[in-house]
């Protein structure tokens, strides 16, 4: 029953989907490739949306990942502005939001994720999320209109980058985080505290351990009421409270979904169907756990892997060390590995005071991760140790 597809359709035209298409061509696949994207824009890079494009340093075209000409050269049929709404595995057909049905042979599911929103803010001007280029340009226009105060809900990586970019524009910024420290649930409280200090050093009004009770305004947002009763006047609000994988279109298709599309270790979902990127959940055998990774690096690598798996059953498990970077103010923060907040943490290079350091995380005698503040070289060296399954002691003794 399993065979090699003669044509490949990719649903989702962001980083994972585009990498899938490009990997097929690089590997010499000569069959038709169709790339279907929900957004009207050709594929673009998302990291600059919270930084260079939002800051106004880049025009959006600089974030483009490809253009019509390149897609045509690679003979990738690009269909943008079309959202998949249904999948029929038996008939091997997709349904699009226009009602059109599209047959497929091989399929890569790369529909990504969307922002969580706060209920009750629909239609209130000045309330933003940041995921797409359109989101970015709407927020940028609001930042250019010289608001009195920008309030960011959620001090995760997107929220932190938006806060940093808004400060870079000279705007007053409040950053509200429900956890005791920013990213504490990921990095642990000691490193979370370092992140908190970076924000405060740059003049951000950081409020931690407090939630948002409601966002108020008549036509446009005017103020935010926090769970501790504090009221902050703000005319721009950015909600950065995580994402939800886009899987609803698979309801009833027989594709198993549990906070993401369930894949095997090689990214296979069903016969001649694979998944990649923010939407894919797969067992990463290097860590012995199932994960869904929302990082740039994973989308690129998994997109290529999922495409290759379609063509070659011999393509093995995907076992990366997850890695990402976040640029905030003048700091480049990088994390590699799979850390838990209660892991042991040791600074192995530089110092917390200078905010220029590498710290490694360990659990059960093994190195689980590395966090770097302006230490890309060390992060990559320790990342290699994580990949090798090095002991925590050996990692502590290593010198880079």
């Amino acid at each position: 029953m399993t065979s090699t597809p003669r044509a490949v359709t990719i649903v989702g035209a962001s980083l994972a989907g585009l990498n899938a298409a490009e990997a097929l061509r690089r590997d010499g696949f000569e069959g038709p490739i169709t790339l279907i994207g929900a957004e009207d824009h050709p594929p673009y890079d998302r990291p600059p949306l919270s930084k260079q494009v939002l800051a106004g340093d880049w025009e959006p075209d600089r974030a483009a990942l490809t253009d019509a000409e390149e897609l045509q050269e690679d003979e990738i049929e690009a269909r943008f502005g079309l959202r998949a709404t249904g999948l029929d595995l038996d008939a091997r057909e997709l349904t699009l939001h226009t009602g059109e049905t599209v047959g497929f042979d091989g399929l890569v599911i790369a529909t990504g994720a969307r922002c969580r929103t706060m209920g009750g803010t629909e239609g209130l001007e000045g309330v933003h999320v940041l995921r797409s280029l359109d989101d970015c340009l709407a927020l940028r226009a609001d930042l250019e209109a010289a608001p009195q105060r920008v309030l960011v809900v959620g001090a995760g990586f997107i929220g932190a980058e938006v806060a940093a970019t808004a400060r870079g524009r000279g705007l007053e910024v409040s950053l509200v985080e429900a956890l005791p420290t920013p990213l504490g649930r990921v990095l642990g409280d000691e490193m979370g505290q370092v992140c908190a200090e970076v924000h405060r050093d740059h003049g951000v009004d950081l409020r931690t351990g407090v939630g948002v009770d409601r966002i108020e305004g008549d036509r446009r947002v005017e103020r935010v009421v926090l769970s501790d009763g504090a009221v902050i006047d703000a005319d721009v609000v950015v909600v950065g409270i995580g994402v939800i994988p886009n899987t609803e279109w698979l309801d009833g298709s027989g594709v198993e979904v549990d906070d993401g599309v369930i894949c095997d270790a090689s990214c296979l979902v069903a016969d001649r169907v694979t998944a990649a990127g923010d939407v894919a959940r797969w067992p990463n055998q290097l860590f012995g756990e199932t994960m869904r990774v929302e990082h740039w690096d994973n989308a690129a690598a998994q997109g290529a892997h999922a495409a290759r798996r379609l063509l070659d059953a011999g393509v093995g498990p995907l076992m990366p060390v997850p890695w990402f970077w976040s640029d905030q103010y003048d700091r480049k923060i990088q994390l590699a590995g799979r850390v838990r907040p209660d892991d042991e943490v040791r600074v192995v290079n530089g110092s917390l005071d200078e905010r220029r350091f590498a710290a490694i995380y360990g659990r059960a005698g093994k190195i689980t991760g590395v966090l770097g503040f302006n230490r890309p070289r060390h992060v990559m060296r320790y990342r290699a140790l994580i990949e090798q399954g090095a002991s925590f002691d050996d990692a502590l003794a290593a010198e880079f």
Partner: protein, 64 residues
């Protein structure tokens, strides 16, 4: 093959350094240094991987 890095794009994420530490090095000054601008054909696969995996698409290969 000659390696070309657009240093206006490079953000020193050091992905290339992990793939090919004998060719790329990010030093403590946070800048990327190319240790070998003209690697041999034996290194082509690794260099191409660097080109593809660079988060800023800052690396390219010139054939001259």
């Amino acid at each position: 093959m000659r390696i070309v890095v657009d240093f206006d794009l490079c953000e020193s994420n050091a992905v290339c350094m992990q793939i090919a530490p004998d060719i790329f090095e990010v030093r403590d000054d946070d800048f990327l240094y190319i240790l070998n601008e003209t690697p041999g054909e034996a290194d082509r696969v690794r260099v191409e991987e660097c080109v593809q995996r660079c988060p800023k698409q800052a690396i390219s290969i010139a054939e001259d």
